[in-house]
């Protein structure tokens, strides 16, 4: 094992000398996190998300009123009222509000009669986070209304008198705020824009930072030094272990530096330190394993660089490192194939004030990524070494 450490130390020395680890592992993600958080206008003085919405209540019924009350109860929402749809459109188009909600006439009655209802969301196209949050709120409320509609329709179909439908709808709808709304909004409600992008950039770039580890086997093969390593009295597994270890160390140091720097200089809050450390360790391990597998599918270092960049960008995007992804959406389901999504989910929970126990599912899934992709990478690495 000591020889694996010797190889890891040599690789680390080379990485430090070419400075790319510092640039990709720290400078770029730190810079991007700073730029994103500064350029997004949805940040208040304290760094928390503040959005301005307006609502047009043409219905005036109890369900529409419940939605307005719900919006008003959210401390990150500055809520105004518009009297007409045209006024709401003007406010949203002019950027005076991030989004406007239109509750049409007869909305509550329609839902109460089991026919469902529709909430229109008019979004200021320049507002990124505000628009996303508005859609998420409306979608979540609509999901709860679907349940109300279904309950009423079921009751009516079972022979309940129509005059009881209104009371049934009121009782079914009297469970606000819906649990799912709380979950979906929780991350946005408690997490600053800076915090989100600090996490997103750290997770996105750590896959670039660690990919050199096993890929350097291909470099060594191309440069002839792999043959020299293989003639030395050490097992091939130690060579792979050295490569994995160097990637892991660089990844952990890079993420650790980002956690500290974004906290100190950008004001990002990462949350419970134990949870953060666990997520960094498991996340970096999964990044090393996934990029190792991708790299070992290539024949040349150049090819490996292309493959890992492609996979890293695609998984990073669907993993929600650049924008929040609602778990209830189709993309939310697709994102589960990306370790980045599980890292993001864990970090966002912790950053949002969650306890360590809440990241256990993320840690377990990341462990599965490590075992499955890591095992396949080791098998592939042996063939790279001509064995």
């Amino acid at each position: 094992m000591r020889r694996a450490l010797v190889i890891a130390a040599k690789d680390l020395r080379l990485r430090i000398r070419d400075r790319s680890a510092f640039i990709i592992g720290f400078l770029v993600p730190f810079g991007l996190a700073g730029i994103f958080s500064l350029t997004l206008a949805d940040v208040d003085e304290e760094g928390d998300i503040q959005v301005a919405y307006t609502v047009v209540d043409l219905d005036g019924g109890h369900l529409a009123g419940g939605f307005v009350d719900l919006l008003g109860s959210l401390d990150f929402v500055e809520l105004g009222e518009a009297s007409t749809v045209a006024e709401a459109e003007r406010l949203a188009d002019g950027g005076e509000v991030d989004a406007a909600f239109v509750l049409p006439e007869g909305f509550s009655d329609s839902v109460g009669a089991g026919r469902g209802g529709e909430i229109r969301v008019l979004v200021d196209p320049r507002s990124d986070v505000g628009g996303l949050v508005a859609r998420s709120l409306a979608r979540s409320f609509a999901g709860d209304l679907d349940a109300v509609t279904l309950s009423v329709a079921t009751a009516l179909a079972s022979g309940a008198p129509p005059e009881e439908a209104q009371g049934l709808a009121e009782r079914a709808g009297a469970v606000p705020p819906a649990a799912r709304l709380d979950r979906d909004a929780a991350e946005s409600r408690t997490l600053s824009t800076t915090g989100f992008f600090a996490i997103g950039m750290a997770v996105f770039f750590v896959f670039f930072t660690v990919e050199f580890g096993v890929r350097s086997l291909l470099d060594e093969r191309q440069d002839g030094t792999l043959a020299r390593l293989l003639v030395a009295p050490l097992r091939p597994a130690w060579i792979v272990a050295g490569k994995v270890l160097s990637g892991f160390v660089v990844g952990v140091v890079s993420m650790g530096a980002l956690v500290i720097a974004t906290g100190a200089f950008l004001g990002a809050e990462w949350g419970n330190p134990v949870g953060v450390i666990l997520l960094v360790l498991f996340g970096v391990a999964s990044a090393v394993a996934v990029t190792a597998l991708v790299a070992t599918l290539a024949k040349t270092p150049q090819q490996a660089g292309g493959y890992t960049s492609l996979v890293t960008v695609v998984l990073g995007l669907i993993g929600g490192t650049f924008f929040p992804i609602s778990q209830a959406s189709f993309l939310g389901t697709v994102s589960l194939v990306a370790p980045q999504a599980w890292m993001m989910r864990g970090f966002l929970r912790i950053a949002g004030g969650g306890e360590v126990a809440e990241v256990v599912p993320s840690l377990l899934v990341l462990s599965v990524f490590v075992v499955v992709t890591g095992s396949a990478a080791v098998v592939r690495a042996r063939s790279l070494m001509g064995r």
């Binding site: 010797v6 080379l14 030094t225 043959a227 030395a232 009295p233 001509g386």
Partner: protein, 320 residues
């Protein structure tokens, strides 16, 4: 009655029945040889003859389809590390880390061989001295000249004081000065008692360095032995080339009648002879030519060499 058995020293390297195929192409077929302590053994053959594949199996870099390899009495295999401590390997291409200094390159590989503590610095310093890089030890290898990189490449193979040093065409693409330095180094290693396996397609290098030579072509070891033994395979006739003018026809006829002369032929500006023992027959040849009316200006004698042996064994020239 007791018999006293004289034990022969165990060869440092022993190979037998080596075979390796890549798909349908057999790269090495039933190759076997051994190298004793202090012996330099050359594998001579053209590019693609199977030299590198053979030494890859010797060093445990390549799984063999058949055959056995042992170094210092220990079996070599891709999945064992025992014998590797006794092997020093110098690949054909430079195998160094350009972003590390010469000293860092040496220290890294020394540690892989388990050398540490005070031994580490001492061994690295010794090696730097052997390859004449002490003054530039702190410079990155990327800043070295081509010759210096080559010397570092060789130094890395010497760190573990190997019992068997394997050099794979170390002079390919090297300038004459560095080439001379490399050949002189190999001669020193032999004097120090190291067994050396040296692959080359340069006949002159094999003749200069190697105690024994194995001639390899198309994956087969065609013949092996000392230079003298190999030359004996093609007979002992020398080629004598006379630059001459005058009555060349009469000289050709007179020379053809001499007993040591096997064959005589005339060309535009002289005569070519195939002679048995040219060095002793030369005075008689020159007197006969002069007596027949030929005026000889220069004489060249070419004794049989490994090039001729290769041609004899394979029907093609080494450079093909």
């Amino acid at each position: 009655m007791t018999r006293t058995l004289r034990r022969m020293p165990e060869p440092v390297l022993r190979t037998s029945g080596l075979r390796k195929a890549f798909g349908d192409r057999v790269a090495v077929d039933d190759v076997g040889f051994h190298i004793a302590v202090g012996e330099t053994y050359g594998l001579l053959g053209p590019n693609g003859a199977g030299k590198t594949t053979t030494i890859s199996m010797v060093c445990g870099l390549l799984e063999r389809d058949a055959g056995e390899v042992s170094v210092d009495g220990r079996r070599v295999a891709t999945d064992t590390t025992d014998a590797r401590e006794a092997i020093g390997y110098v690949p054909q291409e430079l195998a160094i880390y350009p972003d590390l200094t010469g000293r860092e390159n040496l220290r890294f590989f020394a540690r892989l061989y388990g050398i540490g503590g005070e031994d580490l610095d001492r061994r690295v310093d010794e090696t730097l001295e052997v390859v004449d890089l002490t003054d530039r030890a702190g410079d990155r290898a990327s800043e070295y000249s081509g010759g210096m990189k080559r010397r570092l490449n060789i130094g890395l193979g010497l760190l573990n004081r190997p019992k068997l040093l394997v050099l794979d065409e170390p002079t390919v693409g090297v300038d004459p000065q560095s080439r001379h330095a490399i050949l002189a180094s190999v001669e020193r290693f032999r004097e120090q008692g190291m067994a050396v396996l040296y692959t080359t397609h340069y006949m002159e290098e094999a003749e200069r360095l190697c105690d024994r030579v194995g001639i390899i072509d198309e994956g087969k070891l065609m013949a092996e032995g000392t230079r003298r033994e190999l030359v004996a395979l093609v007979g002992h006739e020398d080629r004598v080339s006379l630059q001459a003018s005058g009555d060349l026809g009469a000289a050709e006829a007179a020379l053809a009648r001499l007993e040591p002369v096997v064959d005589a032929s005339r060309r535009e500006e002289g005569l070519d002879l195939v002679v048995h023992g040219a060095r002793t027959a030369l005075p008689q040849i020159l007197m006969t030519a002069a007596g027949a009316g030929a005026d000889v200006s220069t004489v060249e004698v070419a004794e049989p060499n490994l090039e001729a042996v290769f041609l004899h064994l394979t029907g093609k020239a080494l450079r093909d």
